[in-house]
Structure formats: C-alpha cells, structure tokens
Symmetry: C2
C-alpha cells in the first residue's frame, strides 16, 4: 500500500536579511533598549574584520564580547558564557560566525533562562532532558554556510569529558534574524567551503533518502537542492573565485537544506549524523568529513530499506537511466562518493589513518548514547551501525 | 554581463497546521481570551459541514459569524464586516474558506484598526494609499487550495462600482496560523479544482518567467512546483478521486506557489495578473481562467524579453530538447496552453464569447489603474498590453 504523507506543522519566524552591504541594518533589527553580547569563535572574524565592522555598526550601544567558541562548541566553554550573561544582565545575543557559534549561542540563549542546570537540557546519559520553555532573543551574522543553524531552532553541543556530541532544540531557539551576506564567505579557506557543501548535501539526504510517502513536491525540492550543490560545488571550492552568484547560491542552499522546507510531511533518517558525531567526538575529524565517510557506506548497507528512493535519486539527481535497479543504486552511491572526493574529502576511515580498531569503540559510543534503534523506521540497530562503520574502513 | 541575485528579506511567521483530523487544535491556537468572528463565503462551508465543525470545536467561546464574502471579495461587503468587528469588539478573526475569504479577512483585520478610511489602504485612483501599520490577529481554515493567501500577507479586493480589482499587503497581515486539511478539498467541484491548479501554476510563472539572475536554487524550486502541478493536475480534477496524497500535494503546492519560497532574490513579473484582473472586473470571468487567457499570449508577445528563461522552461519543465530556441519556445507555449485546456479552461477570449470589442475597454482599465509600465523591467507599456490582449482573441 502506498504510504501517506505525514501530518506536519511548519513554523519558522526567523527574519532573513540576505545580500550585499546590509550590515548597517543590524542597528535597526536589534531593539534599541537591549544590552548586547556578541559571541564568536576563533580568530577569523577578527582577522578578516567582520567583528570590527559589527562593533562599528553597534557603536552607540552597550556591547560586550565573548570569544573562543570552538569548531565543535563545548558545554565547558558555553557555561562560562551563560555565567557572563547572567552576571552582566545581557538581554540580546548576537552570534557572529558559522554553525558552531550559532549553535553555541542558541544554547547560551536557552541556558541563561533555564530553570535549573543547563546540563538538564540534554538526555542520553548527560542530564535529565527537561524542555526549554524560554530563551533570550538572539540574532546571527553568518560567515560560514554549512549547518543551516541560522534558520532553524536546533543545535549540537560537545561534552569534552564525556566524549559526547548531543543535540537540542525548541520553539524558543529560532534566531530573531539572520544576516546572510555572501561576500563574507570570500575569505573562507577551501577546506571550510568544501565542508559546507558536504554538510548541506547530507542534510538534504537525511530528509530525502528514506521511503516514498507521495510527497512529490518535497521530493523535487530536495532533488533541486542536491542538483544545485552538485552544480556549484566545483566553483565554490575555488577559494579565489569570488563570483557573487556562486557564493549567494551556496549560502542560500545551505540555509534551505535545514530550514524545514524539505522535511515537511516526510520521514527523516539522521543516522549518518548520529554515526558521524561519534567519529568527531572520538577522533576530532571535521563534522562534514565524518558524513563523507558514513553516508556512502550507509547507502550501501541500507540499500534494501531505501531501495525506492535510491533508484529515484539515481535517476533524477544523477541522471542514471541505464541498468537494472541494483546497478543504478551502485552507480548513484559511486557518484556520491566521487562527489565528496572531488571536494577533497576522504570517504573511508583509512583516508584519515584509522583502521578496524575504531569499530568497537564507535559502536560502544552509540550504545552509551542510547542510539540503538535509529533511522527513519527505527530499525538501524547497533549491529547494522557496526556494518556501516565496517563497510567504511 | 551576468546579472546578480537581488538582495532580499524573508520573513513568514505563519504557523502551518497541515494534515488530517487537526480541526480540534483550533481551540488551542486561538488564545482563550479572544472574542472570535468567523468569516466565510457562500453556502459551501455550510452545506459541507465545515462551518458546523469549526463552531463545535469553539463551542466553549463567544463566537460570531459573518457570511457572504464573494468569490471576488468586494469592498462594499467587507466594510460591513469592519463595522461589525468595531461595534461588537471582536479581537480575533477566523477565515473559513478559500483565497477570497482569506483575502477579505485580511482586509477586515487591517481595516478594523486603520486610522481613517479603509479605502485609503489602496491607491490607483481609489484612495490615498497609506500604509497598514497594525491589524487584528487572524487565522484561517483553508477549504480551496489556489491563491496561497493562507501563507502570505497580501490580498486583492474588488470595488464593484469602480470596476477595479486592487491589491494590498503589509507585514501585519500574515495569518497567525493556517489549518490545511487536504480532506476538506474532497467536496470541491471540478471547476474549482482546475482553477486552483491554474492559479498556482501562474503564480509560479510570475516569479520564474523573467530573466536569469544566477538564482539556481530558486529556479529549480520553481521548476519543481511546475512539474508537480503538471504531474498531479489530471488526478486533482477528478472530483471523485479522493487519493489523499494527490490532494495533499495539491494543497501544499498551492501554498508554496506564493509563500515567498520562490521569489527570494529574483525579479518578478505579475503582468498576467494585472491583465487578468481587468478581465474579471469587466466580465466576471473566474480569476484563474483569465490567467489561462493571458499567460500563453503574454509569453508569445514577450518572447524576446523572456527568451533565456523561456528556453530553460521548455527544456527543464517540458523536456523539450529538439529544435532551435524559437522552436523550443513555441513548443513550450503550446504545451502550456494545452495543459490549461486539459483542465477544462478556454485560453482565448473567443472561448468565453468575447471578441475584439474587449481590447480597448481593457486597455482603458489598465490606464485608469496606473498599470502603464508593468512586468519585471517595467517595460510592458499599454501598447504591449494591447498586443497581448489582441493576441488572445
């Protein structure tokens, strides 16, 4: 029997301010009576002058700074920001950076108003997992297109001591606004540009590569995004290619990959992310590169469960029309792997100097975090995850 | 020189509640302290029981009713609703119906709080055109997918005496929520189903069929929507075909055709709508059918200005790959015309018993309403509009 489209809600109140020369508008979209804390990461927003430009726009206000949010933002760092916000009574947060800084800022926004220990926002053996019921308002200035965090309400936080990477979200943690200036990507190194493309690509796949439910429009939207990323990928990773439309399309595609447009009414997987997070937590490999390791292997191991959508993906996204279904699936998985490799990412553990010793450790991590029945049907057991890791050696 | 993607803002706070058996949730999403006025159109929401179901869900509250909003909602009727809202102090409006009822409700929401004469919300020789700065909150229960009004902030109002059909909009006239239950479309007659498909199709074309600005994702999204409407059109207009996914895809496609997803950063035309509105105002032909008359003719007359996108449309939406550019364009226009005709709509004035006598009268109307330099470049003069009307005889 044909499955039916799922019931859904869609609510996304974030105001997107997209384009060139719009930084001045920050002073209008942050209410005048707010005391603003600017949060950022390492040195790049300083080095390339973005932080100075933001401060110049807000110079008539009382503004504080909190730097040093990591590429995988840690609880240990963010709890310091929460303390600062409370002590100094900041009541508006401004994230200047990529997805890590934005995720971190979301956690600070929620944690500063959380009743009890912010640790308890999380479950999975970390805390009590109690819901977020309020958060400070915050905006973002995006410098690195990748995670889509600028237009959704979720985030992922790393717990250093516990070697865990866990998600959170709520209706209260949408950015009030996000300022997206494609020219801010002109200073990004190739590695981060490539990571952004792959991160967005796998976000789409998590929402698309499941089983059909007659969601014809959502499927075509997802295929649009995959085709666009494939089309622009080679030009995006040319560091010195400052073609505006290429970077604008990259930025808007990464936002659309995870702003709710693609996921309405369809099942979602997210197992590649679960398996990838454990790799980053244990070995510190870039998030996007862990996805490049996991996804091709997962598609291969889960080819029966995902059969119908894999054939559709082969035909519509990659234009593969010859061969039987299994041959189309093989060709599509190979194309996917080659696409990631063309962006400079290894797609096997061996490309990162890792061998079969990782499998038991990673599976143990999944078990510890309760990730024992994942994917769109909840049927990806630890044994299946073990096969996926093993298939990626 | 390649044109650049335009700067844009995106803000759409409407909460979509989509799916089966969700009517009960109305009682949660309308704040308990509000005095609610339900607005509706003719008899169909009564005849098919939707109005009774809504009233049953809200039975614990103080609820009023205002019926009789026309298929092309008139100022003359809506001003009575505004009077009622003020006299009885209603502070939440609930539209139950299609785009006409929702457009009308938006105008009532804005008009009830407007400083001065609600007529002055409009320009074009009707009023002073002063901005909307506040509006009553309102929600919608959509029964007829077509206009997209359920997830945007605009509306179109008819002035009977002045034979005018004019638009308005503001940041204050987004629905707070819209409840979209595809099963509510099961009672619609074929004519309205066909109109909905065509209306949504032309909405997409107004945002897509201009000139390229390197907006690769927005182009593919628009093509996705056109392909989806072409794919489901034949099944949608089978009145008795109550396949849930077909109707769900129809409903969500019509919403997406005009909720801002497609128009970000790209030029827009809307000349088919301007020319069509005058036909409805003078001859009372259904809005969607006026678009079916105007669009194929407009594409033909404007084939040079829209050359690049017409070729892209031919290739990607209709799969036309043989012939030179002009032949592809001819074939795509013919396919478009045939699609509308397959839905039961005439695509020439003669199909509606009208002849060349209409042209002068329609052009006069355009002039009276200031529509003398329209389209994406503002270069569609009255003379060009005359050619388009003439080409559609």
């Amino acid at each position: 029997m044909q499955k039916e489209m799922l019931n859904f809600d869609y609510y996304n109140p974030t105001h997107i301010i997209f384009g060139k020369n719009r930084l001045e508008e920050l002073n209008q979209v942050i209410p005048q009576d707010k005391k603003v804390l600017i949060l950022y990461g390492g040195g790049s927003v300083k080095r390339f002058g973005t932080l100075d430009k933001v401060k110049e726009v807000l110079k008539s206000r009382e503004v504080g700074e909190f730097g040093g949010i990591e590429a995988n933002p840690t609880y240990e760092t963010l709890i310091k920001a929460i303390k600062l916000v409370k002590e100094e009574n900041y009541d508006f947060l401004l994230a200047v950076g990529g997805g890590s800084v934005i995720d971190g800022t979301k956690f600070v926004a929620a944690g500063a108003l959380f009743d009890g220990e912010p640790m308890d926002i999380f479950g999975s053996g970390i805390g009590e997992k109690r819901p977020i019921t309020k958060a400070l308002p915050f905006g973002t200035v995006l410098t690195l297109p990748a995670t889509g965090s600028e237009m959704n309400s979720g985030g992922v936080i790393t717990f250093v001591e516990k070697k865990a990477k866990l998600g959170f979200g709520s209706a209260y943690t949408y950015p009030v606004f996000s300022l997206l200036d494609p020219e801010l990507t002109y200073t990004l190194p190739k590695r981060q540009l490539a990571n952004g493309i792959m991160d967005a690509y796998v976000h789409v796949m998590e929402q698309y590569m499941t089983y059909p439910v007659g969601a014809l429009l959502q499927d075509r939207y997802a295929e649009s995004l995959l085709q666009t990323l494939i089309e622009i990928g080679p030009a995006v990773i040319e560091e010195d290619n400052h073609d505006y439309n290429t970077r604008a399309t990259f930025m808007w595609s990464a936002t659309n990959a995870l702003n709710g447009t693609l996921s309405r009414g369809v099942p979602q997987d997210w197992a590649s992310h679960s398996l990838g997070h454990e790799i980053t937590a244990l070995y510190g490999i870039d998030h996007a590169r862990t996805l490049a390791i996991v996804l091709p292997s997962l598609l291969n191991v889960r080819r029966n469960e995902k059969h119908d959508k894999l054939v559709q993906y082969a035909e519509r996204v990659w234009g593969i029309t010859s061969g039987n279904d299994e041959e189309k699936i093989d060709a599509a998985i190979l194309k996917t792997r080659e696409f990631f490799e063309s962006l400079g990412a290894g797609t096997r553990f061996s490309d990162y100097g890792l061998g079969e010793e990782v499998v038991d450790l990673l599976v143990d991590q999944l078990e510890r975090h309760g990730l024992t029945n994942i994917s769109e049907r909840g049927d990806q057991t630890l044994e299946v995850s073990r096969q996926i890791y093993t298939n990626a050696l």
